[in-house]
Symmetry: C2
Subunit: 303 residues, 2 copies
Protein backbone atom coordinates (compact mmCIF):
# COMPACT_ATOMS: atom_id res chain seq x y z
CA UNK A 1 0.00 0.00 0.00
CA UNK A 2 1.05 3.55 -0.71
CA UNK A 3 1.81 6.13 1.94
CA UNK A 4 -1.02 8.38 3.11
CA UNK A 5 -1.11 11.83 4.57
CA UNK A 6 -3.49 11.26 7.47
CA UNK A 7 -4.60 8.32 9.58
CA UNK A 8 -7.98 8.94 11.21
CA UNK A 9 -8.64 6.58 14.12
CA UNK A 10 -12.01 6.27 15.89
CA UNK A 11 -13.07 3.81 18.54
CA UNK A 12 -9.68 3.53 20.22
CA UNK A 13 -12.01 3.01 23.18
CA UNK A 14 -14.76 0.53 22.35
CA UNK A 15 -17.58 2.27 24.25
CA UNK A 16 -17.08 5.64 22.54
CA UNK A 17 -19.54 5.28 19.65
CA UNK A 18 -19.82 8.67 17.99
CA UNK A 19 -16.55 8.91 16.05
CA UNK A 20 -16.76 5.29 14.74
CA UNK A 21 -20.30 5.98 13.55
CA UNK A 22 -19.08 9.15 11.82
CA UNK A 23 -16.35 7.17 10.03
CA UNK A 24 -18.84 4.53 8.95
CA UNK A 25 -21.12 7.20 7.50
CA UNK A 26 -18.10 8.86 5.85
CA UNK A 27 -17.36 5.53 4.14
CA UNK A 28 -20.96 5.41 2.87
CA UNK A 29 -20.92 9.05 1.79
CA UNK A 30 -17.39 10.15 0.77
CA UNK A 31 -18.26 13.86 0.63
CA UNK A 32 -19.52 13.87 4.23
CA UNK A 33 -16.14 15.28 5.28
CA UNK A 34 -14.07 17.24 2.78
CA UNK A 35 -10.67 15.56 2.56
CA UNK A 36 -9.16 18.73 1.05
CA UNK A 37 -7.16 16.65 -1.40
CA UNK A 38 -5.31 14.70 1.27
CA UNK A 39 -4.98 10.92 1.16
CA UNK A 40 -6.61 9.39 4.21
CA UNK A 41 -6.72 6.06 5.99
CA UNK A 42 -9.68 5.49 8.33
CA UNK A 43 -9.99 2.74 10.88
CA UNK A 44 -11.54 1.60 14.14
CA UNK A 45 -8.85 1.44 16.80
CA UNK A 46 -10.19 -1.39 18.92
CA UNK A 47 -12.88 -3.34 17.04
CA UNK A 48 -12.89 -6.17 19.59
CA UNK A 49 -13.60 -3.80 22.46
CA UNK A 50 -16.24 -2.14 20.31
CA UNK A 51 -17.96 -5.49 19.70
CA UNK A 52 -17.98 -6.02 23.47
CA UNK A 53 -19.16 -2.38 24.00
CA UNK A 54 -16.33 -1.90 26.51
CA UNK A 55 -13.51 0.61 26.72
CA UNK A 56 -11.00 -2.22 26.26
CA UNK A 57 -10.67 -5.98 26.51
CA UNK A 58 -7.37 -6.54 28.40
CA UNK A 59 -5.95 -3.07 28.91
CA UNK A 60 -6.50 0.50 27.71
CA UNK A 61 -5.34 0.59 24.04
CA UNK A 62 -4.53 4.27 24.44
CA UNK A 63 -1.97 3.43 27.13
CA UNK A 64 -0.49 0.52 25.15
CA UNK A 65 1.77 2.34 22.68
CA UNK A 66 4.74 2.32 25.07
CA UNK A 67 8.01 1.46 23.26
CA UNK A 68 8.87 -1.21 25.84
CA UNK A 69 5.54 -3.00 25.22
CA UNK A 70 5.76 -2.65 21.44
CA UNK A 71 9.25 -4.13 21.33
CA UNK A 72 8.23 -7.33 23.10
CA UNK A 73 6.36 -10.14 21.35
CA UNK A 74 2.90 -11.39 22.36
CA UNK A 75 1.11 -9.69 25.24
CA UNK A 76 -2.41 -8.43 25.86
CA UNK A 77 -4.91 -8.02 23.04
CA UNK A 78 -4.43 -4.25 23.05
CA UNK A 79 -0.63 -4.46 23.00
CA UNK A 80 -0.85 -6.74 19.96
CA UNK A 81 -3.28 -4.29 18.32
CA UNK A 82 -0.97 -1.36 19.05
CA UNK A 83 1.92 -3.27 17.46
CA UNK A 84 -0.25 -4.09 14.44
CA UNK A 85 -1.30 -0.47 13.94
CA UNK A 86 2.25 0.86 14.22
CA UNK A 87 3.46 -1.93 11.89
CA UNK A 88 0.89 -1.03 9.23
CA UNK A 89 0.49 2.72 9.49
CA UNK A 90 3.48 3.92 11.53
CA UNK A 91 6.41 5.82 9.98
CA UNK A 92 8.19 2.55 9.06
CA UNK A 93 4.98 0.64 8.32
CA UNK A 94 3.71 -0.91 5.08
CA UNK A 95 1.30 2.02 4.56
CA UNK A 96 2.89 4.84 6.51
CA UNK A 97 0.80 7.87 7.49
CA UNK A 98 2.37 11.22 8.29
CA UNK A 99 -0.23 12.57 10.71
CA UNK A 100 -2.70 10.78 12.98
CA UNK A 101 -6.01 12.12 14.34
CA UNK A 102 -7.34 10.02 17.21
CA UNK A 103 -11.03 10.76 17.83
CA UNK A 104 -12.43 10.37 21.34
CA UNK A 105 -15.47 11.30 23.37
CA UNK A 106 -15.79 11.90 27.10
CA UNK A 107 -18.50 12.01 29.76
CA UNK A 108 -16.90 15.28 30.94
CA UNK A 109 -18.14 18.63 29.63
CA UNK A 110 -14.99 19.23 27.60
CA UNK A 111 -16.83 20.60 24.56
CA UNK A 112 -14.69 20.19 21.44
CA UNK A 113 -11.05 20.16 22.45
CA UNK A 114 -7.60 19.03 21.38
CA UNK A 115 -5.16 17.01 23.46
CA UNK A 116 -1.42 17.17 22.87
CA UNK A 117 1.08 14.76 24.37
CA UNK A 118 4.30 16.65 24.98
CA UNK A 119 5.72 19.60 23.05
CA UNK A 120 6.54 18.26 19.60
CA UNK A 121 6.82 21.20 17.17
CA UNK A 122 4.62 19.65 14.45
CA UNK A 123 1.86 18.85 16.98
CA UNK A 124 2.03 22.38 18.36
CA UNK A 125 1.81 23.83 14.84
CA UNK A 126 -1.24 21.75 13.93
CA UNK A 127 -2.99 22.44 17.24
CA UNK A 128 -2.24 26.17 17.03
CA UNK A 129 -3.61 26.36 13.48
CA UNK A 130 -6.78 24.46 14.39
CA UNK A 131 -7.19 26.67 17.44
CA UNK A 132 -6.75 29.72 15.18
CA UNK A 133 -9.44 28.45 12.81
CA UNK A 134 -11.97 27.07 15.29
CA UNK A 135 -11.03 28.37 18.74
CA UNK A 136 -10.70 24.95 20.37
CA UNK A 137 -8.99 24.76 23.75
CA UNK A 138 -5.80 22.69 23.94
CA UNK A 139 -4.95 20.38 26.84
CA UNK A 140 -1.21 19.76 26.92
CA UNK A 141 -0.61 16.47 28.66
CA UNK A 142 2.99 16.05 29.79
CA UNK A 143 5.16 15.03 32.75
CA UNK A 144 2.66 12.43 34.01
CA UNK A 145 4.53 9.19 34.61
CA UNK A 146 1.28 7.42 35.61
CA UNK A 147 -0.24 7.98 32.15
CA UNK A 148 1.95 6.98 29.19
CA UNK A 149 1.76 5.01 25.95
CA UNK A 150 -0.67 7.16 23.94
CA UNK A 151 -1.39 6.24 20.33
CA UNK A 152 -0.52 9.60 18.77
CA UNK A 153 2.99 9.51 20.22
CA UNK A 154 4.03 6.80 17.74
CA UNK A 155 3.41 9.00 14.70
CA UNK A 156 5.52 12.01 13.66
CA UNK A 157 2.55 14.25 14.32
CA UNK A 158 -0.73 13.50 16.01
CA UNK A 159 -3.59 15.04 17.96
CA UNK A 160 -6.43 13.68 20.02
CA UNK A 161 -9.81 15.28 19.34
CA UNK A 162 -11.89 14.99 22.52
CA UNK A 163 -15.61 15.86 22.50
CA UNK A 164 -18.09 15.80 25.35
CA UNK A 165 -20.17 15.46 27.40
CA UNK A 166 -21.75 12.27 26.12
CA UNK A 167 -22.44 9.04 27.98
CA UNK A 168 -20.53 5.94 27.00
CA UNK A 169 -22.56 3.81 24.64
CA UNK A 170 -24.70 6.70 23.37
CA UNK A 171 -24.81 8.18 19.86
CA UNK A 172 -25.60 11.89 19.98
CA UNK A 173 -26.06 14.08 16.92
CA UNK A 174 -24.39 17.07 18.56
CA UNK A 175 -21.26 15.06 19.37
CA UNK A 176 -21.10 13.62 15.84
CA UNK A 177 -21.42 17.14 14.42
CA UNK A 178 -18.69 18.57 16.64
CA UNK A 179 -16.38 15.68 15.75
CA UNK A 180 -17.10 16.12 12.04
CA UNK A 181 -16.29 19.83 12.17
CA UNK A 182 -13.07 19.28 14.11
CA UNK A 183 -11.87 16.61 11.66
CA UNK A 184 -12.73 18.74 8.65
CA UNK A 185 -10.86 21.74 10.01
CA UNK A 186 -7.81 19.60 10.82
CA UNK A 187 -7.78 18.36 7.21
CA UNK A 188 -8.26 21.86 5.78
CA UNK A 189 -5.40 23.15 7.87
CA UNK A 190 -3.09 20.30 6.87
CA UNK A 191 -3.91 20.80 3.18
CA UNK A 192 -3.20 24.52 3.48
CA UNK A 193 0.13 23.82 5.20
CA UNK A 194 1.11 21.51 2.34
CA UNK A 195 0.23 24.23 -0.17
CA UNK A 196 2.26 26.74 1.82
CA UNK A 197 -0.69 29.12 2.07
CA UNK A 198 -1.19 28.88 5.81
CA UNK A 199 -0.42 31.99 7.83
CA UNK A 200 0.54 30.90 11.30
CA UNK A 201 -1.18 32.56 14.26
CA UNK A 202 1.10 34.61 16.48
CA UNK A 203 0.42 32.57 19.57
CA UNK A 204 -1.17 29.46 20.95
CA UNK A 205 -3.07 29.11 24.24
CA UNK A 206 -2.39 25.83 26.01
CA UNK A 207 -3.75 24.37 29.23
CA UNK A 208 -0.67 22.65 30.63
CA UNK A 209 -1.27 19.55 32.79
CA UNK A 210 -0.25 20.04 36.41
CA UNK A 211 -1.60 16.88 38.05
CA UNK A 212 -4.77 15.00 38.92
CA UNK A 213 -7.07 14.76 41.95
CA UNK A 214 -9.13 11.83 43.16
CA UNK A 215 -12.27 11.87 45.29
CA UNK A 216 -11.78 11.12 49.01
CA UNK A 217 -11.93 7.36 49.53
CA UNK A 218 -12.48 5.16 52.55
CA UNK A 219 -12.36 1.46 53.29
CA UNK A 220 -12.34 -0.85 50.23
CA UNK A 221 -11.41 2.15 48.12
CA UNK A 222 -15.03 3.33 48.05
CA UNK A 223 -15.60 7.07 47.49
CA UNK A 224 -16.75 8.96 50.59
CA UNK A 225 -17.68 12.00 48.56
CA UNK A 226 -18.40 13.00 44.98
CA UNK A 227 -17.50 15.87 42.67
CA UNK A 228 -19.48 18.82 44.05
CA UNK A 229 -22.57 19.57 42.01
CA UNK A 230 -21.34 23.13 41.49
CA UNK A 231 -18.07 21.83 40.00
CA UNK A 232 -19.72 19.22 37.76
CA UNK A 233 -19.71 20.37 34.13
CA UNK A 234 -17.34 23.31 34.82
CA UNK A 235 -14.42 22.03 32.76
CA UNK A 236 -12.10 24.85 31.53
CA UNK A 237 -13.44 27.27 34.21
CA UNK A 238 -10.69 28.51 36.59
CA UNK A 239 -11.13 27.42 40.22
CA UNK A 240 -11.38 30.19 42.78
CA UNK A 241 -9.95 29.83 46.31
CA UNK A 242 -13.23 29.01 48.10
CA UNK A 243 -14.86 26.89 45.39
CA UNK A 244 -16.37 23.65 46.69
CA UNK A 245 -14.73 20.60 45.18
CA UNK A 246 -16.36 17.56 46.78
CA UNK A 247 -19.64 16.87 48.55
CA UNK A 248 -20.85 14.06 50.80
CA UNK A 249 -24.05 12.05 50.34
CA UNK A 250 -25.99 14.42 52.60
CA UNK A 251 -25.02 17.36 50.38
CA UNK A 252 -22.49 18.91 52.75
CA UNK A 253 -19.25 20.22 51.29
CA UNK A 254 -16.23 18.13 52.14
CA UNK A 255 -13.09 19.98 53.13
CA UNK A 256 -11.40 21.26 50.01
CA UNK A 257 -8.05 19.82 49.01
CA UNK A 258 -5.11 22.18 48.66
CA UNK A 259 -5.18 23.44 45.09
CA UNK A 260 -2.95 26.15 43.70
CA UNK A 261 -4.90 28.93 42.10
CA UNK A 262 -5.90 29.82 39.47
CA UNK A 263 -5.85 26.17 38.35
CA UNK A 264 -8.25 25.10 35.63
CA UNK A 265 -9.92 21.70 35.90
CA UNK A 266 -10.43 19.38 32.91
CA UNK A 267 -11.93 15.91 32.48
CA UNK A 268 -14.18 16.44 35.50
CA UNK A 269 -15.91 13.13 36.30
CA UNK A 270 -14.87 11.26 33.15
CA UNK A 271 -16.36 7.77 33.63
CA UNK A 272 -13.30 5.88 32.47
CA UNK A 273 -10.91 7.69 34.78
CA UNK A 274 -12.58 6.51 38.01
CA UNK A 275 -10.61 3.26 37.76
CA UNK A 276 -7.46 5.34 37.29
CA UNK A 277 -8.41 7.27 40.47
CA UNK A 278 -8.71 10.55 38.60
CA UNK A 279 -11.75 12.69 39.48
CA UNK A 280 -10.36 15.60 37.45
CA UNK A 281 -7.05 16.97 36.24
CA UNK A 282 -5.69 20.43 36.85
CA UNK A 283 -4.08 22.66 34.28
CA UNK A 284 -2.48 26.05 33.98
CA UNK A 285 -3.37 28.36 31.12
CA UNK A 286 -0.31 29.61 29.23
CA UNK A 287 0.06 31.74 26.13
CA UNK A 288 3.02 30.73 24.01
CA UNK A 289 4.48 32.66 21.10
CA UNK A 290 4.38 30.59 17.94
CA UNK A 291 7.89 29.57 16.81
CA UNK A 292 8.57 29.59 13.04
CA UNK A 293 10.19 26.15 13.10
CA UNK A 294 6.95 24.51 14.33
CA UNK A 295 5.21 25.16 11.05
CA UNK A 296 8.32 24.23 9.07
CA UNK A 297 8.42 20.83 10.78
CA UNK A 298 4.75 20.18 10.11
CA UNK A 299 5.21 21.26 6.47
CA UNK A 300 8.17 18.91 6.04
CA UNK A 301 5.96 15.95 7.07
CA UNK A 302 3.47 16.78 4.31
CA UNK A 303 5.97 17.22 1.46
CA UNK B 1 -36.03 -12.89 59.58
CA UNK B 2 -39.02 -10.75 60.34
CA UNK B 3 -41.24 -9.10 57.79
CA UNK B 4 -40.38 -5.56 56.68
CA UNK B 5 -42.38 -2.72 55.27
CA UNK B 6 -40.17 -1.68 52.40
CA UNK B 7 -37.51 -3.30 50.24
CA UNK B 8 -35.21 -0.71 48.65
CA UNK B 9 -33.27 -2.12 45.71
CA UNK B 10 -30.42 -0.30 43.95
CA UNK B 11 -28.10 -1.53 41.24
CA UNK B 12 -30.63 -3.79 39.54
CA UNK B 13 -28.48 -2.72 36.58
CA UNK B 14 -24.78 -3.05 37.39
CA UNK B 15 -23.61 0.09 35.54
CA UNK B 16 -26.03 2.44 37.32
CA UNK B 17 -23.85 3.58 40.20
CA UNK B 18 -25.68 6.41 41.95
CA UNK B 19 -28.39 4.57 43.89
CA UNK B 20 -26.04 1.81 45.12
CA UNK B 21 -23.64 4.47 46.35
CA UNK B 22 -26.50 6.22 48.12
CA UNK B 23 -27.49 2.96 49.85
CA UNK B 24 -23.88 2.35 50.89
CA UNK B 25 -23.69 5.81 52.42
CA UNK B 26 -27.07 5.25 54.09
CA UNK B 27 -25.63 2.14 55.71
CA UNK B 28 -22.68 4.19 57.01
CA UNK B 29 -24.92 7.03 58.18
CA UNK B 30 -28.40 5.76 59.17
CA UNK B 31 -29.95 9.23 59.40
CA UNK B 32 -28.98 10.08 55.81
CA UNK B 33 -32.52 9.16 54.78
CA UNK B 34 -35.35 9.40 57.30
CA UNK B 35 -37.04 6.00 57.44
CA UNK B 36 -40.16 7.58 59.00
CA UNK B 37 -40.50 4.66 61.38
CA UNK B 38 -40.76 2.03 58.67
CA UNK B 39 -38.73 -1.17 58.71
CA UNK B 40 -36.54 -1.32 55.65
CA UNK B 41 -34.44 -3.87 53.80
CA UNK B 42 -31.77 -2.48 51.49
CA UNK B 43 -29.86 -4.42 48.88
CA UNK B 44 -27.95 -4.32 45.61
CA UNK B 45 -30.00 -6.04 42.92
CA UNK B 46 -27.23 -7.41 40.75
CA UNK B 47 -23.89 -7.36 42.61
CA UNK B 48 -22.18 -9.55 40.01
CA UNK B 49 -23.09 -7.18 37.18
CA UNK B 50 -21.97 -4.30 39.39
CA UNK B 51 -18.58 -5.92 39.95
CA UNK B 52 -18.26 -6.27 36.17
CA UNK B 53 -19.54 -2.65 35.71
CA UNK B 54 -22.08 -3.93 33.20
CA UNK B 55 -25.85 -3.65 33.00
CA UNK B 56 -26.12 -7.42 33.39
CA UNK B 57 -24.11 -10.63 33.08
CA UNK B 58 -26.39 -13.02 31.15
CA UNK B 59 -29.64 -11.11 30.68
CA UNK B 60 -31.37 -7.97 31.98
CA UNK B 61 -32.32 -8.68 35.62
CA UNK B 62 -35.20 -6.26 35.30
CA UNK B 63 -36.74 -8.41 32.55
CA UNK B 64 -36.14 -11.66 34.47
CA UNK B 65 -39.03 -11.62 36.97
CA UNK B 66 -41.40 -13.40 34.56
CA UNK B 67 -43.46 -16.10 36.33
CA UNK B 68 -42.53 -18.70 33.68
CA UNK B 69 -38.80 -18.11 34.30
CA UNK B 70 -39.17 -18.04 38.08
CA UNK B 71 -41.04 -21.34 38.13
CA UNK B 72 -38.29 -23.23 36.30
CA UNK B 73 -35.10 -24.35 38.02
CA UNK B 74 -31.60 -23.23 37.02
CA UNK B 75 -31.21 -20.74 34.18
CA UNK B 76 -29.18 -17.60 33.60
CA UNK B 77 -27.43 -15.80 36.46
CA UNK B 78 -30.11 -13.09 36.52
CA UNK B 79 -32.99 -15.57 36.54
CA UNK B 80 -31.43 -17.30 39.54
CA UNK B 81 -30.96 -13.92 41.23
CA UNK B 82 -34.59 -12.98 40.56
CA UNK B 83 -35.72 -16.29 42.07
CA UNK B 84 -33.46 -15.68 45.10
CA UNK B 85 -34.83 -12.17 45.68
CA UNK B 86 -38.46 -13.28 45.40
CA UNK B 87 -37.72 -16.27 47.65
CA UNK B 88 -36.19 -14.06 50.33
CA UNK B 89 -38.17 -10.82 50.17
CA UNK B 90 -41.28 -11.67 48.12
CA UNK B 91 -44.76 -11.97 49.68
CA UNK B 92 -44.17 -15.65 50.52
CA UNK B 93 -40.46 -15.23 51.27
CA UNK B 94 -38.49 -15.76 54.46
CA UNK B 95 -38.36 -12.01 55.08
CA UNK B 96 -41.34 -10.67 53.19
CA UNK B 97 -41.53 -6.98 52.28
CA UNK B 98 -44.81 -5.24 51.51
CA UNK B 99 -43.57 -2.55 49.16
CA UNK B 100 -40.53 -2.40 46.88
CA UNK B 101 -38.72 0.67 45.57
CA UNK B 102 -36.40 -0.11 42.67
CA UNK B 103 -33.93 2.73 42.08
CA UNK B 104 -32.61 3.33 38.59
CA UNK B 105 -30.76 5.96 36.60
CA UNK B 106 -30.89 6.72 32.89
CA UNK B 107 -28.84 8.50 30.25
CA UNK B 108 -32.09 10.15 29.12
CA UNK B 109 -33.13 13.55 30.50
CA UNK B 110 -35.99 12.07 32.53
CA UNK B 111 -35.35 14.21 35.60
CA UNK B 112 -36.77 12.50 38.70
CA UNK B 113 -39.64 10.30 37.66
CA UNK B 114 -41.70 7.29 38.66
CA UNK B 115 -42.43 4.24 36.54
CA UNK B 116 -45.51 2.09 37.09
CA UNK B 117 -46.04 -1.32 35.52
CA UNK B 118 -49.73 -1.75 34.92
CA UNK B 119 -52.64 -0.30 36.90
CA UNK B 120 -52.45 -1.93 40.30
CA UNK B 121 -54.43 0.16 42.79
CA UNK B 122 -51.73 0.21 45.50
CA UNK B 123 -49.09 1.31 42.97
CA UNK B 124 -51.36 4.03 41.67
CA UNK B 125 -52.03 5.24 45.22
CA UNK B 126 -48.36 5.44 46.13
CA UNK B 127 -47.42 7.11 42.84
CA UNK B 128 -50.26 9.61 43.12
CA UNK B 129 -49.27 10.52 46.68
CA UNK B 130 -45.60 10.96 45.76
CA UNK B 131 -46.64 13.03 42.76
CA UNK B 132 -48.81 15.13 45.07
CA UNK B 133 -45.89 15.70 47.44
CA UNK B 134 -43.07 16.20 44.97
CA UNK B 135 -44.63 16.73 41.54
CA UNK B 136 -42.81 13.86 39.83
CA UNK B 137 -44.09 12.74 36.44
CA UNK B 138 -45.36 9.17 36.18
CA UNK B 139 -44.66 6.89 33.22
CA UNK B 140 -47.26 4.11 33.10
CA UNK B 141 -45.74 1.16 31.28
CA UNK B 142 -48.36 -1.33 30.11
CA UNK B 143 -49.48 -3.40 27.14
CA UNK B 144 -45.95 -3.93 25.84
CA UNK B 145 -45.45 -7.63 25.16
CA UNK B 146 -41.80 -7.03 24.15
CA UNK B 147 -40.91 -5.74 27.65
CA UNK B 148 -42.02 -7.91 30.56
CA UNK B 149 -40.66 -9.44 33.75
CA UNK B 150 -40.03 -6.30 35.81
CA UNK B 151 -38.87 -6.66 39.43
CA UNK B 152 -41.58 -4.57 41.04
CA UNK B 153 -44.33 -6.75 39.56
CA UNK B 154 -43.50 -9.59 41.98
CA UNK B 155 -44.31 -7.50 45.06
CA UNK B 156 -47.83 -6.43 46.14
CA UNK B 157 -46.81 -2.80 45.55
CA UNK B 158 -43.76 -1.38 43.87
CA UNK B 159 -42.43 1.63 41.98
CA UNK B 160 -39.37 2.31 39.91
CA UNK B 161 -37.64 5.61 40.65
CA UNK B 162 -35.84 6.71 37.49
CA UNK B 163 -33.41 9.66 37.57
CA UNK B 164 -31.41 11.18 34.73
CA UNK B 165 -29.58 12.21 32.70
CA UNK B 166 -26.37 10.62 33.92
CA UNK B 167 -23.88 8.51 31.99
CA UNK B 168 -23.53 4.86 32.89
CA UNK B 169 -20.60 4.36 35.22
CA UNK B 170 -20.63 7.92 36.58
CA UNK B 171 -21.42 9.10 40.11
CA UNK B 172 -23.04 12.53 40.07
CA UNK B 173 -23.99 14.48 43.19
CA UNK B 174 -27.15 15.88 41.58
CA UNK B 175 -28.42 12.39 40.71
CA UNK B 176 -27.65 11.09 44.21
CA UNK B 177 -29.52 14.04 45.70
CA UNK B 178 -32.57 13.57 43.50
CA UNK B 179 -32.65 9.86 44.31
CA UNK B 180 -32.32 10.56 48.03
CA UNK B 181 -35.20 13.02 47.97
CA UNK B 182 -37.45 10.65 46.00
CA UNK B 183 -36.78 7.76 48.39
CA UNK B 184 -37.36 9.90 51.45
CA UNK B 185 -40.68 11.19 50.14
CA UNK B 186 -41.80 7.64 49.26
CA UNK B 187 -41.05 6.57 52.83
CA UNK B 188 -42.79 9.62 54.34
CA UNK B 189 -45.86 8.93 52.26
CA UNK B 190 -45.96 5.25 53.17
CA UNK B 191 -45.60 6.07 56.87
CA UNK B 192 -48.44 8.59 56.65
CA UNK B 193 -50.65 6.05 54.88
CA UNK B 194 -50.00 3.57 57.67
CA UNK B 195 -50.95 6.18 60.25
CA UNK B 196 -54.08 7.00 58.27
CA UNK B 197 -53.19 10.69 58.13
CA UNK B 198 -52.67 10.89 54.38
CA UNK B 199 -55.18 12.95 52.45
CA UNK B 200 -55.31 11.58 48.94
CA UNK B 201 -54.97 13.99 46.01
CA UNK B 202 -58.06 14.27 43.81
CA UNK B 203 -56.28 13.15 40.68
CA UNK B 204 -53.13 11.68 39.25
CA UNK B 205 -51.43 12.62 35.98
CA UNK B 206 -49.99 9.63 34.14
CA UNK B 207 -48.06 9.35 30.91
CA UNK B 208 -49.46 6.15 29.45
CA UNK B 209 -47.13 4.09 27.23
CA UNK B 210 -48.26 3.93 23.60
CA UNK B 211 -45.27 2.28 21.92
CA UNK B 212 -41.61 2.74 21.05
CA UNK B 213 -39.66 4.01 18.02
CA UNK B 214 -36.26 2.95 16.77
CA UNK B 215 -33.81 4.95 14.67
CA UNK B 216 -33.75 4.14 10.93
CA UNK B 217 -31.35 1.24 10.33
CA UNK B 218 -29.62 -0.12 7.25
CA UNK B 219 -27.44 -3.10 6.46
CA UNK B 220 -26.06 -5.01 9.46
CA UNK B 221 -28.59 -3.24 11.63
CA UNK B 222 -26.44 -0.10 11.75
CA UNK B 223 -28.26 3.20 12.40
CA UNK B 224 -28.51 5.45 9.34
CA UNK B 225 -29.62 8.39 11.43
CA UNK B 226 -29.62 9.57 15.04
CA UNK B 227 -32.05 11.24 17.40
CA UNK B 228 -32.29 14.81 16.11
CA UNK B 229 -30.26 17.25 18.18
CA UNK B 230 -33.39 19.32 18.77
CA UNK B 231 -35.20 16.27 20.20
CA UNK B 232 -32.29 15.15 22.40
CA UNK B 233 -32.97 15.97 26.05
CA UNK B 234 -36.66 16.87 25.40
CA UNK B 235 -38.19 14.05 27.42
CA UNK B 236 -41.70 14.88 28.69
CA UNK B 237 -42.15 17.65 26.07
CA UNK B 238 -45.10 17.02 23.68
CA UNK B 239 -44.11 16.49 20.04
CA UNK B 240 -45.61 18.88 17.53
CA UNK B 241 -46.53 17.80 13.99
CA UNK B 242 -43.46 19.20 12.22
CA UNK B 243 -40.86 18.45 14.89
CA UNK B 244 -37.70 16.84 13.55
CA UNK B 245 -37.15 13.37 14.98
CA UNK B 246 -34.01 11.98 13.33
CA UNK B 247 -31.00 13.46 11.57
CA UNK B 248 -28.37 12.00 9.27
CA UNK B 249 -24.60 12.34 9.71
CA UNK B 250 -24.49 15.45 7.50
CA UNK B 251 -27.03 17.15 9.79
CA UNK B 252 -30.01 16.91 7.42
CA UNK B 253 -33.35 15.95 8.90
CA UNK B 254 -34.49 12.46 7.99
CA UNK B 255 -38.13 12.06 7.01
CA UNK B 256 -40.23 12.00 10.13
CA UNK B 257 -41.99 8.78 11.10
CA UNK B 258 -45.77 8.87 11.46
CA UNK B 259 -46.44 9.84 15.06
CA UNK B 260 -49.84 10.62 16.49
CA UNK B 261 -49.98 13.99 18.16
CA UNK B 262 -49.71 15.22 20.79
CA UNK B 263 -47.53 12.26 21.86
CA UNK B 264 -44.96 12.80 24.57
CA UNK B 265 -41.56 11.14 24.24
CA UNK B 266 -39.73 9.53 27.17
CA UNK B 267 -36.43 7.69 27.57
CA UNK B 268 -34.97 9.52 24.57
CA UNK B 269 -31.60 7.96 23.72
CA UNK B 270 -31.28 5.76 26.82
CA UNK B 271 -27.98 3.93 26.27
CA UNK B 272 -29.27 0.53 27.38
CA UNK B 273 -32.28 0.58 25.08
CA UNK B 274 -30.26 0.72 21.84
CA UNK B 275 -29.83 -3.06 22.00
CA UNK B 276 -33.59 -3.34 22.49
CA UNK B 277 -34.03 -1.16 19.36
CA UNK B 278 -35.77 1.59 21.30
CA UNK B 279 -34.67 5.15 20.48
CA UNK B 280 -37.53 6.58 22.56
CA UNK B 281 -40.97 5.63 23.79
CA UNK B 282 -44.18 7.57 23.21
CA UNK B 283 -46.79 8.30 25.82
CA UNK B 284 -50.12 10.01 26.17
CA UNK B 285 -50.78 12.34 29.08
CA UNK B 286 -53.96 11.44 30.98
CA UNK B 287 -55.53 12.85 34.12
CA UNK B 288 -57.26 10.21 36.20
CA UNK B 289 -59.55 10.79 39.14
CA UNK B 290 -58.22 9.13 42.27
CA UNK B 291 -60.37 6.18 43.33
CA UNK B 292 -60.90 5.69 47.09
CA UNK B 293 -60.11 1.98 46.94
CA UNK B 294 -56.55 2.65 45.70
CA UNK B 295 -55.54 4.16 49.01
CA UNK B 296 -57.43 1.49 50.95
CA UNK B 297 -55.49 -1.22 49.17
CA UNK B 298 -52.16 0.47 49.86
CA UNK B 299 -53.17 0.98 53.49
CA UNK B 300 -54.08 -2.70 53.86
CA UNK B 301 -50.55 -3.70 52.81
CA UNK B 302 -49.06 -1.59 55.60
CA UNK B 303 -51.29 -2.84 58.42
Amino acid sequence: MAASDVLVVAGTHGNELNAPWLLQQWNRQPDLINSAGLSIQRLVGNPQAQAAMRRYVDRDLNRSFRPDLLEQSGGDLEVCRARELVGRFGPKGDAPCSVVLDLHSTTAAMGSSLVLYGRRPADLALAALVQGALGLPIYLHESDSAQTGFLVERWPCGLVVEVGPVPQGVLEARIVRQTRIAVEVCLEVLAAVRLGVMRPPRQVVVHRHLGSCDVPRGESDQPHALIHQRLQGRDWVPLKPLDAIFQAADGTTVETPQIEHPSIPVFINEAAYAEKHIAFSLTQREVWAMEPQWLQQLGALLK
